[in-house]
Amino acid sequence: MNLLQALPIAMLGALLGLDVVSFPQAMISRPIVAATAAGAFIGNPTSGLLIGVVLEMIALDTLPFGASRYPEWGSASVVGGALFAAHPVGMPGALPASMLAALLTASISGWSMVVLRRIIASRLERTRDRIEDGSREALLSLHLSGMSMDLLRGALVTITAMMVFAPLVRAIVAVWGSDSAPSRAIVVIIAAVVAGGALWKVYHSVRGVLWFFLAGLVTWAVLLAAR
């Protein structure tokens, strides 16, 4: 993948990265949306959705509470969706390798958000006197530059990740030694464990919640038997 090919994906990553915190927080940055959108960009929304669902399950573990540090899923899911959708359906290794790329990108992108917040804080420090004096221009400048930098951050993370991971994932898939079924099984187990653990972490204090979950499992078992 060259720079020109990665540019449209980078623009998508920038827009969806912006949604995570800055604007409009409509959750178009959630993996289930972002990876599907990236897959559609490549011409394969179904593959984008598949990896998006798996990443969404893992993302349930990192809800964006207050000032906590968390992975940034918007740009990362665009990277994962684009990488996976670029491979033919059923190619062994494509899903785990693309997922690994997405998780690494999410981690790095989360760190880039921390850096951005520090940059905004240092800009604030430089303009503090003017803002304390009630300067409209200083406040608007700080706010709009923060959003612009966030947009740029998402684009840079996405394009860098695509340039690094696209050839890497292709190389991994080319020498992949495991069969397709066990490869998918590992991914399924990881997603199930993280999603189950995440939901328990969030809901364990709610009275009776386990019974509701078990009722859902019974419904699934009935559906399975009816098929």
């Binding site: 993302a59 990881i190 999603a195 419904t219």
Partner: protein
């Protein structure tokens, strides 16, 4: 000191619309010094132009400086603060009282919002979308349902917050006793758990693909893993474990 009243605030619709739109960008300058304080100033600014002396006047400058200081709230519920503070500023409530109000309101708006949105509504919408995928839904159906469902709650909450803040001013605290905010998370959690029980296995079946050769092993491994993570709770970050396991598996599959 001017006492807050229940009379309607004379603020044009376009100003309210501008404030609502700016609320969507509340966290554009989020930082570790003022958290979303500068965002509150950014969102409230269109209304402050109606203070005596207009833009750049002493009242405007003092209010803008005051409203841009440290503040922390859940972004979707920050509208409650923006509305209430707007009313207080336009009614000429004394500065010290406004600052006390800001300090008192920040904590509850953060914790209530976190419980309702991040810990309830978002996971619920996620598992509903995952369930639609598991049931064989198309990309458009899955993504469309998620975005419509999530944003119905999201935008309603933002709009309600701004409206209630503008109408009640400094008396807005009682609005946080709204049954949806107090009891909502509990009901949504139960609904999410029920949906998750059906949705997660359905979706994982579709990801695993046809064939049941490894079904027993997958179910057993997933069950044991969930038990382990549930015991560890906050001591373990699931996504980091996922990253580590995946990295080892990819390495193994490349070198064998």
């Amino acid at each position: 000191m001017t006492a807050p009243t229940a009379r309607p605030l004379n603020l044009p619709v376009r100003v309210r619309a501008a404030m609502f739109f700016r609320l969507l960008a509340l966290q554009g300058s989020w930082n570790y010094e003022t958290l979303n304080g500068t965002g509150i100033g950014f969102a409230i600014e269109p209304a402050l132009r109606y203070l005596p002396g207009g833009v750049g006047g002493p009242a405007y400058r003092a209010a803008l400086a005051r409203e841009s200081r440290y503040f922390n709230a859940h972004p979707y519920l920050a509208g409650v603060a923006v509305g209430a503070l707007t009313r207080a500023e336009l009614e000429g409530v004394e500065a010290a009282r406004i600052e006390r109000f800001r300090t008192a309101l920040a904590g509850p708006l953060g914790s209530v919002g976190d419980r309702l949105v991040w810990a309830s509504w978002l996971p619920f919408c996620s598992v509903v979308a995952i369930g639609i995928f598991g049931a064989g839904g198309s990309p458009l159906a899955v993504v469309g349902t998620f975005l419509l469902l999530y944003n119905a709650g999201h935008l309603l909450l933002r709009a309600w917050g701004l409206r209630i803040g503008l109408s009640r001013g400094l008396n807005v605290a009682s609005a946080l006793g709204n049954p949806v905010l107090r009891q909502g998370p509990q009901y949504i959690a139960c609904a999410a758990a029920l949906v998750a029980g059906v949705a997660l296995p359905l979706a994982l079946q579709r990801v695993a693909g046809p064939g049941r050769a490894l079904a027993g092993a997958i179910i057993a491994a997933a069950f044991l893993g969930i038990l382990l993570l549930a015991r560890l709770r906050e001591r373990a970050e699931g996504w980091r474990i996922a990253l580590g396991v995946l990295a080892v598996f990819v390495l193994y599959s490349v070198i064998t």
